[in-house]
């Protein structure tokens, strides 16, 4: 099948790749661009493990075709930590023991980041709603909800 050129910004870097037409962003990221942070759970839109942020919106990379992202700004979990310092959501999830196998974690982190980018001081219901498309089989959701609320608190303390 013909390969087509696609350009977008991935975690702040300009990327230009040749991909097979119709390839999902999930496969383009992992197989072509070496970003293994989106996880593949269901490829049906049901688990949220493959979540990424595209132009500020949480999206499912398993259901998004890479070529529809031409010119877009894409964020994945791999790009969140800066200079060895974890993003507040990543830090809070570790500190709050909100991960066991960690499979759902990248998707949860992106869902939480998308929430906090728009709503810096979310209510508990906001957090529940924000991660409602992400399935965790291990921890139960309470530690994750607590971690996202803790990340929001630490953000607002740092800002204040």
């Amino acid at each position: 099948m013909a390969r087509i050129p696609v350009q977008f910004r991935l975690n702040g870097d300009d990327r230009a790749e040749f991909i097979e037409s119709g390839t999902t962003l999930f496969h383009a990221l992992r197989d072509t661009m070496g970003d293994m942070s989106p996880k593949g759970g269901c490829h049906q839109g049901s688990c949220g493990a493959c979540s990424v942020i595209i132009d500020g919106e949480l999206r499912l990379s398993c259901l998004t075709l890479a070529e529809t992202c031409e010119g877009a700004e894409i964020e994945t979990t791999a790009g969140l930590g800066q200079d060895g310092v974890l993003h507040p959501v990543q830090r809070a999830i570790l500190d709050g023991f909100a991960t066991q196998c960690g499979f759902c974690t990248p998707g949860m982190v992106m869902a939480a980041k998308a929430l906090l980018d728009r709503t810096p001081n979310p209510s508990r219901e906001d957090v529940v709603e924000a991660i409602s498309g992400n399935i965790c089989r291990c921890t139960g959701y309470e530690p994750i909800i607590a971690a996202v609320l803790a990340a929001a608190r630490s953000n607002s303390q740092n800002a204040g």
Partner: protein
């Protein structure tokens, strides 16, 4: 193996390409890419248009026109459409709402199609590349798209806040798939008597359907327990509820009158 995507600048060109067969139109992709991922061999490629008109939401006076590629999230952010936010927010979790389009929702089989249930109650017009149809006619003939081209937009009169009601019943909160959904537009006169009613039901057939017997039974009645009794008695008339892992058709049929009655008296 992936399937090739063909991109066109206009809805007309995309419609022509679609009529050549095999390929499916790509809205947000939440159903069509999922089907390809699951190995649906009936789909041989994707077609889309990048025409910016398809993502526009226009409100002029009381009339709203929503482009077919507008997402549920964009509707839920549009202040002028606040009265129908509930229906847009009923579709999936946040990531799904950022992708799910109005156009795709019109084609979604039950148990999906929650926003379309609202459009049905609203008496929307469905604008296609080559024709405009009432939503009733569109849904009746939905699977035969030849000759009308892709859906480009829907339009409807924005309802007054107190005339539109929407309810989605699901088991998993806050984002589970529908057990059923109900949307109503009910206009009452100064005495509180129903002058007109349009009722859309989801999961009560393979696609959203009107509850015509209940609409007729509500006319001339007040929205009281006694006034709505006849409508509640006939709400299931003409329905053929779906059975899926969420609920059996029998269960859906049994609980429909209960939820319908609660919605009317809420």
């Amino acid at each position: 193996m992936s399937l090739a995507l063909s991109t066109f600048a206009s809805a007309k060109e995309a419609s022509v390409a679609l009529n050549e067969g095999g390929a499916h139109y790509l809205g947000g992709g939440t159903l069509v890419v999922r089907a390809v991922n699951e190995g649906d061999i009936a789909i041989t490629g994707y077609v889309r248009t990048t025409d910016p008109a398809l993502t526009k939401i226009d409100v002029s006076g009381q009339r709203a026109r929503i482009g077919a590629s507008a997402t549920m999230a964009s509707i839920a952010r549009c202040l002028e459409l606040e009265t129908i936010w509930r229906a847009a927010k009923a579709v999936g979790g946040p990531a799904i709402r950022n992708m799910a389009t109005v156009g795709g929702n019109l084609f979604a089989p039950a148990p999906y199609g929650d926003f379309t249930v609202a459009l049905l109650a609203l008496g929307a017009t469905v604008h296609c590349a080559d024709a405009d149809l009432s939503i009733d006619d569109f849904l009746a003939d939905r699977d035969n798209s030849s000759g009308r081209g892709i859906v480009t937009a829907v339009s409807f009169d924005i309802p007054a806040a107190d005339s539109f009601r929407f309810l989605k019943v699901s088991r998993v909160k806050p984002k589970g798939v529908s057990v059923l959904s109900i949307a109503t537009i009910i206009d009452t006169d100064a005495q509180g008597v129903v002058a007109n009613a349009r009722i859309g039901l989801g999961c009560m057939a393979d696609r959203p359907i009107r509850a015509r017997a209940a609409e007729a039974a509500l006319k001339g009645q007040p929205l009281t327990k006694d006034g709505i009794a006849q409508a509640v008695a006939v709400i299931g008339e003409g329905t053929d509820p779906i059975t899926d892992p969420i609920a059996s058709g029998w269960y859906r049929g049994e609980v429909l009158p209960v939820h319908f009655s609660r919605l009317l008296l809420s």
